[in-house]
Symmetry: C2
Subunit: 341 residues, 2 copies
């Protein structure tokens, strides 16, 4: 148990209190607390116990103020987006061994990216990792002039910022190749509109069809990021004649909407129509959904993002490529099968 007999007057416990209790100087306590070299084993033990007894907690802010470096990486993420949740998890695990702390700043309906970034700047972050930012390229470039900026899951033209993203086009090649191998020829694509990655995925779909000499079958349906937009696309699909036998969809959420409407329309998936999603989100993994999908390698994306940020900060490595593209892989589940007949 920790003991309440700390400093008087409800003040918080400081290094000085620990030093007094252990009968040593303040800097020595600092050394012990940081596991830095320069203290005898006996002293270490004594200081440790004193700190324990007082329930001492180091003050990160004071520590950072004194240190030249803050070892703090700011992360801007969308609180609504489930995929960002996966990325944040990965960022924590990647930053920890690298010796960096994360400062999270959320984008919400009432708090735009600019505010999210501004608060991180005040916190003295040394670098910024932005997840799927919508900020204009010019703003990103301006930021990047001030500090290392790594954009995850969005392509950016500017030379100034680092980018780590999935090879979206390759993802659609995987999906289309899989369907063609199963024997499909009439393969449609439900598009993501202006969403990050949508243009690449659309391009991948087109390229892949051409690669299989199926140019004539190209069919891109307007869609979006959400279930509702998928549902709308599925209605178009139901009405189409001849109907495609397979469809690749911008993401899993949208694919879920597609599945729902198809089945309610009386079609059997995958018997009548095969469906491939994108993201391998938790949605896709649900046993009763069992969606075949293109998986993004979130662990790798986040490891690279942190590695890039820290490399910039520590001036190691000649910064290889400005843009790092991570290959996705296909997860085959139960929504794809050979076409009927």
């Amino acid at each position: 148990m920790t003991d309440a007999s700390g400093p008087a007057g409800g003040r918080r416990t400081t290094l000085a209190d620990v030093a007094a209790r252990a009968g040593v100087s303040v800097p020595l306590v600092s050394i012990v607390m940081r596991d830095a070299p320069g203290a005898s084993a006996a002293t270490r033990e004594r200081v440790r116990r004193a700190a324990e007894e007082l329930g001492y907690r180091p003050d990160l802010r004071a520590r950072l103020l004194r240190r030249s470096r803050s070892r703090l990486i700011g992360v801007v993420f969308g609180v609504q987006h489930p995929f960002h949740g996966d990325l944040v998890s990965g960022l924590y695990t990647a930053s920890d061994p690298a010796g960096y702390e994360l400062a999270l700043s959320a984008v919400t309906p009432g708090r735009d990216e600019r505010r999210a970034v501004a608060s991180l700047l005040q916190d003295r972050c040394e670098a910024l990792i932005l997840l799927g930012p919508q900020l204009p390229t010019s703003d990103l470039a301006e930021l990047a002039a001030r500090m290392p900026v790594v954009v995850v899951a969005r392509a950016v033209r500017s030379r100034a910022v680092d980018v780590v993203r999935t090879d979206d086009a390759a993802g659609l090649h995987l999906a289309v190749d899989h369907l063609v191998e199963l024997g499909h020829t009439r393969i449609a694509h439900v598009d993501g509109g202006r969403a990050p990655g949508a243009a690449e995925r659309r391009r991948g779909y087109r390229e892949a069809l051409r690669g299989h000499r199926l140019d004539a079958e190209e069919r891109v349906l307007p869609g979006g990021l959400t279930e509702d937009e998928g549902a709308a696309a599925a209605r178009t699909l139901l009405a189409a004649a001849p109907r495609p036998t397979a469809v690749t969809v911008f993401n899993d959420r949208c694919a879920t909407g597609v599945l729902d409407v198809l089945r309610r329309g009386g079609l059997s998936v995958p018997r009548d129509l095969s469906v491939v999603g994108f993201d391998d989100s938790s949605l896709a993994r649900l046993s009763h959904v069992a969606l075949t999908t293109v998986a993004q390698d979130t662990d790798r994306l986040t490891a690279l993002a942190v590695a890039r940020a820290t490399a910039r900060l520590e001036d190691t490595a000649p910064a290889s490529e400005r843009e790092q593209v991570v290959p996705p892989h296909l997860v085959v589940r139960a929504t794809t099968a050979p076409p009927r007949g």
Copy 2:
């Protein structure tokens, strides 16, 4: 445009730099930057321009170190949980006008609540808001001895911590009353197990049935928080004889799984079976899902949580009730209808 001619050597711009440029003393600049009284309009203008030209940003950490108060509220949330996203949004909007900053700390598969809390303590948060924490009550009480702790969306026995939560039992009363009004008598409940709120909702379901003299029809099926668990419960439901004509479900995610399996099992919702969810999450609002559900008032929950935390910090108000319970309301959509026949 900001000008790069700040301090030499890539150091960051400080108050001293601004003071030098404006030809005034450091504290005066501080006064101007904080909009504190004690500077002439002319000086203000001059200092403002100097700061602007140098691209000066105040250092929050230094500021907080110097101030006795940090005006920082720590928030622990689950990065996986969509509902927490809504709550975080609300917390930002509530804390801003109160003059408090938020420090976010995520719980992820690789980062438990203890670590999340520890990092916030180091950040010198003055109070903690925990969203649906799984931490044992004893830990919560120990924390609460140290600083104000507000638990949101979970009932806690300990007298030490403040609680703000939805009246879960009342929510199930609303759901059951609605179904009874439609004419249902065989109403089952898919349970949430040990999830926060599950016990209350189960109790509300039981009370409501008894209120309608339907004790004999009581039927609680094991479920959980996820679609998969709902799917499993639905399979039990399909096999039951006589089959209930309506079912209340622990939350919307779980209800989605229920819906999916019911429909694939050949039942029509709501013709053959009515379904009511809980949370009014974005899932429920999807046009093709259109789930009747019990909505939690997130704005009110978050406003109360912040109000409670700040009241504790500022010693205002005699802390009214330790537990504040917010009434939910029913959102009727397309998954409920009178029973057949």
